[in-house]
């Protein structure tokens, strides 16, 4: 991938190819205008995020404990309700895009 890199001011520069790569990972298509606009905006936003470099390493308080319960079968949505919002269903199942 083409990568974000620091320019001479130490700011993060993002090019439209990097945006395109990230959009691929995120499964979101973008048009060319969006790619270019996002590249410019991401440079600003990521430069702001760089200020987190100044944050010291912190040991968070270890107050997390696992809470367990027995796994019991209870009433849940019936199939019809669960499928009600799907654009396509077949034999009580969700139907995804046709591959070919």
């Amino acid at each position: 991938m083409s990568d974000a890199s620091a320019d001479s001011d130490g700011d993060t520069a993002v090019d439209p190819e990097t945006v395109e790569h990230i959009a691929g990972l995120a499964r979101v298509d973008l048009d060319e205008d969006e790619r270019e606009r996002f590249a410019e905006q991401f440079s600003d936003i990521l430069s702001a995020f760089e200020t987190l470099d100044a944050v010291p390493e912190i040991e968070p308080e270890p107050d997390l404990t696992n809470v367990m319960r027995p796994d019991e079968v209870t009433e849940s949505l019936d199939t019809e309700d669960a499928l009600r919002n799907a654009s396509e269903t077949e034999d009580g199942q969700f139907k995804g895009p046709r591959v070919s």
């Binding site: 969006e34 996002f38 944050v55 809470v67 919002n85 046709r98 591959v99």
Partner: protein
Amino acid sequence: MPSNGYITETTIEGAEGGPLAGKTIAIKDNISTEGVRTTCGSAMLEEYVPPYDATVVERVKEAGATINGKANMDEFGMGTTTETSAFGPTDNPAAPGHVPGGSSGGSAAVVAAGDADLALGSDTGGSVRCPAAFCGVVGIKPTYGLVSRYGLVAYANSLEQIGPLAPTVEEAAELLEVIAGPDERDGTTREPPVEEFADAADGDVDGFDIGIPTELLDGADEDVVARFWEAMDELEAAGASTHEVSLPSVEHAVEAYYVIAMSEASSNLARFDGVRYGVSGGYDGNWNDAFARAREEGFGEEVKRRILLGTYALSAGYQDKYYKKAQDARAWVAQDFDEALADADVLASPTMPVPPFELGESLDDPLQMYLADANTTPVNLANLPAISVPAGETSDGLPVGVQFIGPSFGERAIIRAGSALS
């Protein structure tokens, strides 16, 4: 509705009797209502009809309230103005021509206009408190774990809570009483030390110690700062004392908040692929390509921006640089608040550093928009409760809000402080 406060108007009658009998309530449109569409302000979910009620919706119905509509909001809660809604912007009834704040802008606007007695919003980085401040109403962001998130469409799970909006502190506290408490369907809810809140709205701040973080006043609008100090004078006249505190960590809160919220959003919003719900576009072929096209059509620009930035922050080679540092900042902010609250009953600041923007004024520069959340985001990072109460107007007649921040499960303290401002 000329102000466009509702995405969907409806009438869902509550139970007979109960503490909210005779009251109407608007529900933010990212909180599930059985049989009534719940869009999250997104074209992606324009036709999504939940098959079940959120826990908070069950509770307000049992308490006797009548739900009169699903309130407009920034798409998936991502915004500070309600202008990113796919259903158009909402006007501010307290300052026509200005934004109502966001992301729960519809909830605050319909309460301010008197179209609903009460409303529920959700607050991930200020989304209840900002619109409360901009519309001149009261809004509470509860301690993380006080209110069930079951049925709330997730944006950033580790940060968000559902909270009440109302014309007065007492009414907001009454609604909080109804929705608070553990829920077996949300494993992050906890048994709170107290569940009575409304009787804390007694205005009695005699002997109260209020800490004022100086960092949250730096760079704020002059009129906003003036109204803030007048509010502090009022509390001192009622017997409270104030002292300044320094919270160096909050200088990094906005950046840490956005890294964490965007990272969580990039994962949470992966479910919207048009197969189980949401617009599908009807594309065939390679599934990743089909989903990418459906998501291009279904999501607005701010949502795409946050999904992409979150994906970037979590991608190989960048996780330590962004996500891990943001978690360090989050722990640091929590420590700073703990220390400051060891010497104070509550902390106080302006809710928003600026008065409401004009409609359409602020959409072009996302970074400037994010920075407006400087005073609200630290509270979510620290999992603490906070309330925004009206504190007068700027010289241009725009509403100003003051925020009180309390210790974990210290809702009674912030309600008491807020109720002392008339």
